[in-house]
Symmetry: C2
Subunit: 351 residues, 2 copies
């Protein structure tokens, strides 16, 4: 539970003006045919042929989005890529390239930044994307990492937020609330550690929620599963701010209402037990927790059989006419209006 500086410390200045970026990026091979030219010119060059290009960007700020007290640098690098790729999958597109910009204060050594890039490289390996550009800069305090992700999809494969219609089924991948509880756990152990530096963190048995927070995955597998099922969602979004907030986005942009069934929301056992420990309501955590990076989508009623019984997918409700409103149907069958209460820092919002 100490700052994850590696043992060696080589000042960033050691590598000189052009050395650092070359040093950090030399072990990144290009693997996608669409990556015509990567790092080393004024810009990267891509060739999307007859595909559409999909682009998204996300910025993570130390102290706001992550805390090096408990986030190892490799995990930061990995997660920073994953949260961007998740946006590309949410368009039903395949991510192909990333650009990475980092501003770093001098309190970090080259070894530390190398570890961040180790995480970035692992994500590139796992998700088959190419690092094709970026920028490194000094900062006066802390570390900021900004990633742009690019992907490709045929025009008729793209899925927007605004395509759902009344009677469509509402489906979510995986389970919800884990990332939020992972964060609560890490924050609690940090407080304990700050009071008594000899305290060792007690995280055993909670590996699942910790991994959901520290090393989340984007649902590449769901993207491929949908393709395999020949199933094109009518609308889709990824869950970064929380289920409730994302459901509202789909409804507002599609001009529909929704009936969301509390008892259908998929929750892991680790989340149930920790909610008890932290005296939190499971449903509130699942609705507002955020950072789960699951895919939330709607499908036509006629696609019910393709979804039914799939262990990776849960049907959690259905869309209605806009006039019927956006409602959560509780376990005791009461209908209450959905509201967005993301846990994220005020105004940390993506365009």
């Amino acid at each position: 539970m100490e700052e994850n500086q590696s043992e060696q410390f080589t000042p960033l200045s050691k590598l000189g003006e052009f050395g650092l970026i070359e040093h950090l990026t030399k072990r990144f091979p290009l693997r996608n045919g669409s990556s015509i030219k990567g790092i080393g010119d004024d810009a990267a060059v891509l060739e999307m042929l007859d595909k559409h290009t999909v682009v998204s960007t996300d910025m993570l700020v130390e102290g706001v989005h992550f805390d090096f007290t408990y986030v190892p640098p490799q995990h930061l690098g990995y997660k920073a890529v994953v949260v961007n790729l998740s946006d590309i999958y949410a368009m039903n597109a395949k991510p192909t390239q990333i650009l990475v910009s980092i501003a770093i204060s001098n309190r970090f050594g080259i070894e530390f930044v190398e570890q961040i890039y180790d995480g970035i490289r692992l994500a590139c390996d796992v998700y088959d994307v190419d690092l094709v550009g970026g920028d490194t800069s000094t900062s006066y305090s802390g570390l900021t990492i900004s990633i742009t992700a690019i992907g490709e999809a045929a025009e008729d494969e793209l899925v927007y937020r605004n395509g759902s219609k009344a009677t469509d089924l509402l489906v979510v991948s995986g389970d919800l609330g884990g990332a939020y509880l992972g964060l609560q756990l890490l924050e609690r152990e940090k407080s304990v550690f700050e009071v008594d530096k000899n305290m060792q963190p007690d995280l055993s048995g909670n590996e699942y929620v910790l991994e959901r927070q520290l090393k989340p995955e984007a649902r590449k597998d769901i993207h491929e599963l949908l393709k395999g099922l020949d199933l094109k969602p009518t609308s889709m979004i990824d869950i970064s701010d929380g289920l409730s907030s994302e459901v509202i986005h789909l409804c507002k942009q599609s001009k529909t209402g929704v009936q969301l069934y509390e008892e259908k929301i998929p929750i892991d056992n680790n989340v149930y037990s920790l909610c008890e420990e932290f005296q939190l309501t499971t449903t509130t955590v699942a609705l507002n927790g955020g950072e789960d990076y699951e895919l939330l989508f709607t499908v036509d009623l006629s696609d019910h059989d393709k979804i039914k019984g799939n262990p990776n997918l849960s049907i959690i409700g259905h869309m209605t006419a806009e006039s019927e409103g956006m409602n959560l149907v509780t376990k005791d069958l009461k209908s209450i209006p959905l509201s967005a209460q993301g846990w994220d820092a005020m105004m940390d919002k993506k365009a």
Copy 2:
């Protein structure tokens, strides 16, 4: 010479989680046919048809790249876009879209951030590019802005850094050294102001270098001029770190040498007179000053007539065999080896 806060101060928190980005981006129309979907989904969607896609990213950090003591927020927004577009033009491509991420501390109000976006919007107007995505976040200190620029070019229009050959002419647009002297001037007046807050800055007669520093332009006109002349450079780069550094990039990547003639380097009169005032050598400033955002390129010898006499272009040397080295031929015809000594903050380097 005071902090350019506007008179009103509305805290960023006022607009709520989703309000700020919507508020800031609502006045950005899409104008390029390739912008299929802009802000408002998980990602933007672009259609480049039979063109190649060109992508570049740059991050500007308060205190490292700009100082709000003398940089008005509109100018910051404008310049942040321009420096990115300059990279796209340096590929001989046409910029079409940008994505803008900003991390902002609470000491800034909504009005201040609006002014940054006013500058971004003006740049979008002038350069015909669409804002299609981005991210806003809080930061604990200062302001960081990260922009990704996207452009398009037919495959056979693209110009890389590595295409020059011995005997090619070395050409630069505009004139050099102005942006560096603009910065020296602003820093000097800031020091004076810090000693005596009643002091008014004395900047008259230096409008040219101030504009070069505070509101630089990317050479859209040169991109169009080259097209009009049916002239495709053999290699090209934009001048962000300094002429010397960029010439070395072209040589190293093209595996050529160079003869650069000191007396041919284009210098504005404002730069001459300020160099005298600051007791700086004009050539050193032009070679190492940086931030001029001019285009440096090489053309085949047979294209000499297309360049000759054009007031926007100066032939400053020619490429040689790699074995002949990279040399500056001084006004008294001595040949000295070129070296890169960018003035930029250590390790502030773009991939």
